[in-house]
């Protein structure tokens, strides 16, 4: 049987060709439409820029201020005419430029905030170029970039470019400074805080930032239907927020803590009420890219119907209406490359301008001269770098005290571990030995405290003192009851560093007659075990979020109960007293003295063996200009891009 080309085949062929042809034509048609849209978008952008230029010229000329002054003058003139006398202006006659204090509570100091400007002005940097695009590669995929309901630090990195808080940490002094707030009054007894918003602050659609936006954002955060558990739990110190006038709010606190000032103004970013009001809590919770604010950048496409979704690059463009110091480059991009090697390769290929490397990569790359010709390796300590530790369970496990209930045993363990070796071998030398829970970059750490020395002999002596002796012919120490000096080291799987640490700890302990069992578990199981206090020793890390961390939840004995964060079950009456009085102390200097004392107690007691403090590591391409290391990270808005920034080969 031979296949012959018949009528049926002809019809089929015609249909197939026609389909392909029409698909092709519809593609071409779609492309034409697309080009049209692109042209329109470009025109809109140009218009926006033009409008922003006009706006800033007006701002620069101070017309807004001028008309107010004219109004003042008119009022005074008519006043004078009525009375028939020439009234001199009150005081030195410069009342027109004096600050408006009508919003303030009389008799309480007003903390005026300076103009919100660059800490390092890109315009002053040599070789500054306007325009271009900056790209950062993240290590993990943020599941949402929506403020309040975000799940991870990467989500926060994105929305913090778009939205702004009332105050932030000054990168030089590490004190709160106003962003959206132009001034505030803090009650001498710490029970209330009155905040004045900047007159010029605007959202990216041009609407002013008002007291109603602040109050709405607070209420939205506290709405149980909004999945904002994290910020909500941090705001329990606020009793209520009152509206004083259109630009002023007053916080009422239900407890007096040193953290109140910074937490009230820095826990939730101010969201535009008029934009978010349209959405139900469910829509907000499920949103992935619904971000609008008053910050220097805005989403390139803010479309509730076609939001950014995980898996795509996040594309931000400069907010042309920005009221503060405007970035000089046009576009900010975030992409995600999870694999370490692929990320480093993408960086080398110029597909991104900034990324976080692994310690090993960082150590290797900064040795390579050819690499350094085009790139920079930045390593610096800042307030967000955390510390790693080994926690010794000082309390009961299964109704019996662990061997670490004795502080001599804990200290022996610390002296047993060569933390400098750990730093060099496990962290590639890219860390520094920690002295206690407080970040050594900040004033909170006691500068007099030096880490315990690495001293095997001393460790042996301490164990002998504690009654653990090595009987002849045995390789494990015992006490007089015949119990062996043995413990279990628990850690969560997945990190090479902790694995090596476990092996090292085991080796060192074997040297002085301590038996160590190792227990590895999944992170969630690990957390459960720690919460149940069902372990002897464990390792983990803490990362602070502010320059002055509150030691309460980790070190106060109250948090031993109810699965609190004092999971090492360390109870010390003096420390409890210091923590309680320190938290209520509003005077910074007096408080630091208390923290220094607490630091000394912790050093003496060693409930943790403080291992290392970690710096931030960043690879930055030389295409990025004006990258400055600050004590609280770096400022995206200050960069400028030489030669347009990262561009994939094309």
């Amino acid at each position: 049987m031979r296949n012959r080309f018949g009528l049926k085949d002809l019809v089929l062929l015609v249909i197939v060709v026609a389909t392909l042809g029409s698909v092709w034509m519809s593609m071409v048609q779609e492309d034409r439409r697309w080009k049209e849209i692109d042209a329109v978008a470009r025109r809109v952008q140009a218009l926006e820029q033009g409008q922003a230029r006009v706006q800033s010229t007006l701002d620069g000329a101070g017309f807004g201020d001028l008309s107010k002054r004219l109004g003042d003058l008119g009022a005074r003139l008519s006043d004078a005419l009525e009375r028939g006398v020439v009234a001199a202006g009150p005081g030195s006659g410069t009342s027109g430029s004096a600050r408006d204090t009508s919003w303030a509570v009389p008799g309480v100091t007003i903390e005026w905030q300076g103009a919100y400007v660059f800490d390092s002005d890109p315009a002053a940097a040599p070789g500054m170029v306007r325009g271009g695009s900056f790209t950062e590669a993240f290590n993990a995929q943020p599941s949402t970039i929506v403020p309040l309901v975000y799940k991870d630090v990467y989500g926060a990195y994105v929305f913090e470019r778009i939205t702004e808080y009332m105050a932030e940490w000054d990168p030089r002094t590490l004190k709160p400074r106003g962003v959206l707030a132009s001034a505030w009054q803090y009650a001498p007894d710490g029970s209330w805080l009155r905040v004045r918003l900047r007159d010029e602050a605007r959202f990216s659609d041009g609407a002013p930032v008002t007291a109603d936006d602040v109050i709405w954002t607070y209420q939205w955060t506290m709405n149980p239907q909004v999945q904002a558990e994290r910020p909500r739990s941090l705001l329990d110190f606020i009793d209520r927020i009152d509206r004083i006038d259109a630009k002023t709010v007053e916080f009422r606190f239900n407890k007096v803590l040193f953290t109140n000032l910074s937490a009230a103004m820095g826990t939730f970013p101010i969201l535009p009420k008029h934009f978010y009001e349209k959405f139900t809590p469910t829509q907000y919770n499920q949103a992935t890219g619904l971000v609008m604010g008053s910050g220097p950048f805005k989403l390139a496409a803010l479309d509730p119907e076609g939001q950014w979704a995980p898996g795509q690059d996040v594309r931000l463009v400069r907010n042309e209406m920005y009221w503060g110091p405007k970035p000089v480059y046009d576009e900010l991009r975030f992409k995600v490359v999870r694999d370490d090697l692929a990320r480093a390769t993408a960086f080398n290929n110029g597909e991104c301008d900034l990324t976080t490397p692994s310690s090993a990569q960082f150590a290797r790359l900064r040795e390579r001269a050819d690499w350094l010709a085009n790139n920079e390796a930045h390593m610096w300590y800042n307030i967000r770098g955390g510390y790693n530790f080994i926690g010794w369970n000082c309390g009961m496990r299964n109704a019996r005290p662990t061997i670490f209930a004795d502080k001599r045993v804990r200290r022996a363990m610390t002296m047993l571990l060569d933390r400098e070796l750990i730093r060099d071998q496990l962290f590639e030398g890219l860390a520094r030995v920690a002295t206690g829970p407080f970040n050594q970059t900040t004033a909170q750490a006691n500068p007099e405290i030096k880490p315990w020395p690495y001293d095997l002999e001393g460790a042996r002596r301490l164990l002998e003192e504690a009654g653990w002796t090595l009987k002849p012919g045995r390789d494990v120490r015992t006490n007089d009851k015949g119990e062996e000096l043995a413990f279990e080291f628990t850690y969560s799987s997945g990190s090479e560093v902790t694995e090596k640490l476990g092996k090292y700890l085991k080796d060192q302990c074997a040297k002085i007659g301590v038996r160590v069992g190792v227990r590895v578990m999944d992170w969630s199981v690990f957390m459960q075990t720690v919460d149940d206090r069902d372990y002897d020793a464990m390792t983990m890390g803490w990362s602070p979020t502010s320059p002055e961390s509150d030691p309460n939840q980790v070190w106060h004995s109250r948090y031993i109960e109810n699965q609190g964060d004092n999971f090492v079950q360390w109870a010390n009456a003096e420390a409890d007293a210091i923590i309680e009085s320190g938290r209520r102390e509003l005077d910074a200097e007096a408080r630091m003295k208390q923290w220094h004392r607490l630091h000394a107690i912790l050093h003496d007691e060693q409930p943790y063996t403080f291992l290392v403090e970690r710096p931030w590591l960043r690879l930055v391409s030389k295409r990025v200009g004006n990258f400055v290391e600050y004590r609280n990270g770096f400022r995206y808005g200050e960069f400028f891009m030489r030669s347009g920034g990262a561009r994939p080969v094309n």
């Binding site: 558990e229 609190g564 964060d565």
Partner: protein
């Protein structure tokens, strides 16, 4: 044939229920439990009591405080297309609402005296003749109020549990509190010691709990009344009005991401299918001709070389191959022919679909070519290991038929070698290939974890892996059920194809 297919389809139901039950139990009983994701997501610096309240609140929201079996039945009810009881309603925003959740009873109520008043009746939600918008606003307000009051009650209940703690420890009943629950059955026979030093705290917390309980009951009644008044159009199609209806399955919410599971899968699935639609035809188009050629020249040079080569490829681990591909083919220090990661160029969203000239005389790649160029390396990693199995299968099946009598007869008749090869031998060798297809097809949806991670592709593999890591129950279950369904369907399809390929097989 038709009856056979219908019978097979009905048999799927118990299979899927069995699979989902097994996975549900595995997740629920695994150490760390379902709450793992909530714990990780909740984290951060919160005070301990706060955290307990927060955990109780999350457990309440996701219904994790009920016994595991109850949770499973609820899940089945959601996923089943056949619904019982009152139908859900669809809000104008497209959100589906169902009747308000019942409130859990306060713990050890008998200890606190003060009997509760009878369950309140809900207030009339709106006046007759209210407009749709007024109804919608009133419903939203009632729903907000209930959420507020319910959260307050859950918090008060948690604080009451914490107040009970010291007392129960002092009377040796500390086992009565397990996690976030108080086990009432253990306390039924216990007469509380009102003289205890802890009693004042218990009484105060208990009073607060009862007040918030009453308030929550009242606002629940209001919401129930508003729901019963049907402010929105109803979901689904009724079968027996008020009792049974048919509606779309609801896959639930991902704990870790706070988004509907359906949306997450809808975002990841096209990515995986898109890549596999390129990869699988390549595997088939290379492996089957190679298998045929090898069988045709069995024992000769081509057979040996292709066999060895494919098996060698098959032995290379994907992790290694991926890293090599990135390190050499994508790294500009070496070849740098391909982009490292992602599926699109940074500027792809502003590209035209087809290649087109730019103003300055250069050519823009266009979306389509850009995509193909980006998937080169991932597809390479997906295909190279697939050649061996398929080509060997083809070769073996062909050789079996080459030695059959009918081939010898055809040869004796003087039929052309090409016709023997394709019309006789190949056709009869299709059966094993169909079997292979049934096992490979589900893999198209599952995605490859390794490849997706190395090349930063947001597909099904990474979605499933992350769900498992975070014990995100709804997401794991939805994926498992989906893959199970596809597997069963592929097996069914294979059976149907057998019948089509081999006239000797029939299912009547």
């Amino acid at each position: 044939m038709i009856t056979y297919i219908i019978r097979r389809l009905f048999l799927m139901i118990p299979t899927v229920i069995g699979i989902s039950f097994l996975i549900f139990m595995l997740v629920a009983l695994s150490p760390g439990g379902v709450g793992a994701a909530l714990r990780v997501a909740g984290g951060g610096a919160t005070e301990a009591t706060n955290r307990a309240v927060q955990e109780a609140y999350l457990e309440d929201r996701y219904g994790l405080d009920a016994p595991v079996i109850v949770q499973y039945v609820r899940w089945l009810g959601r996923i089943s297309p056949i619904k019982f009881g009152a139908r859900g309603q669809i809000m104008p925003t497209g959100e589906r609402v169902s009747a308000p959740k019942p409130l859990a009873e306060p713990w050890t109520r008998a200890w606190l005296g003060a009997p509760l008043p009878a369950a309140p009746r809900g207030a009339e939600p709106w006046k007759a003749g209210a407009s749709a918008e007024e109804k919608s606003i009133a419903y939203a307000r009632a729903s907000d109020a209930y959420a507020q009051d319910r959260a307050a009650y859950v918090a008060a209940r948690t604080l009451y549990r914490e107040a009970l703690g010291p007392y129960l420890r002092s009377v040796g009943l500390s086992g009565a509190i397990r996690g976030n629950r108080v086990r009432g059955s253990m306390l039924a026979d216990h007469t509380p010691d009102r003289a205890s030093a802890h009693w004042a705290a218990i009484e105060a917390a208990g009073a607060r709990m009862l007040t918030s309980y009453q308030r929550a009951l009242a606002s629940r009644a209001d919401l129930a009344a508003a729901f019963a008044a049907r402010p929105f159009p109803q979901a689904g199609v009724p079968v027996v009005p008020g009792v049974v209806s048919v509606a779309w399955p609801d896959l639930g919410m991902s704990f870790a991401r706070g988004r509907p599971v359906g949306q997450l899968i809808a975002a990841a699935l096209p990515v995986t299918i898109g890549i596999n639609l390129i990869a699988f035809p390549i595997i088939y188009m290379v492996a089957i001709p190679a298998g045929i050629a090898a069988a045709n020249r069995a024992g000769r040079l081509f057979d040996v070389v292709s066999g060895t080569f494919f098996v060698a490829l098959w032995s290379v681990p994907t992790v290694w191959a991926g890293v090599l591909a990135v390190g050499f083919l994508a790294n500009k220090d070496y070849l740098g022919w391909f982009p490292v990661t992602g599926l699109h160029d940074a500027g792809a969203d502003r590209m035209t679909y087809l290649p087109s000239p730019r103003g300055d005389g250069t050519w823009s790649m266009g979306y389509l070519v850009d995509y193909l160029w980006h998937v080169c390396l991932p597809v390479l990693c997906l295909v190279y290991a697939g050649f061996a199995v398929l080509s060997k299968q083809t070769r073996a099946a062909m050789l079996d038929n080459f030695n059959a009598d009918y081939v010898r007869t055809a040869k004796a008749k003087g039929v052309e070698a090409r016709v023997i090869l394709f019309a006789h031998v190949f056709r009869n060798s299709l059966l094993p290939l169909i079997t292979m297809f049934a096992s490979i097809f589900p893999a198209m949806l599952a995605g490859s974890v390794v490849v997706e991670r190395i090349f930063a592709i947001p597909g099904m593999g990474s979605l499933i892996l992350e769900a498992i890591n975070l014990k995100d129950r709804e997401l794991i279950l939805a994926n498992a059920v989906m893959i199970a369904l596809v597997n069963i369907m592929a097996l069914l399809l294979a059976d149907i194809l057998y019948a089509a390929a081999d006239p000797r097989i029939s299912y009547s």
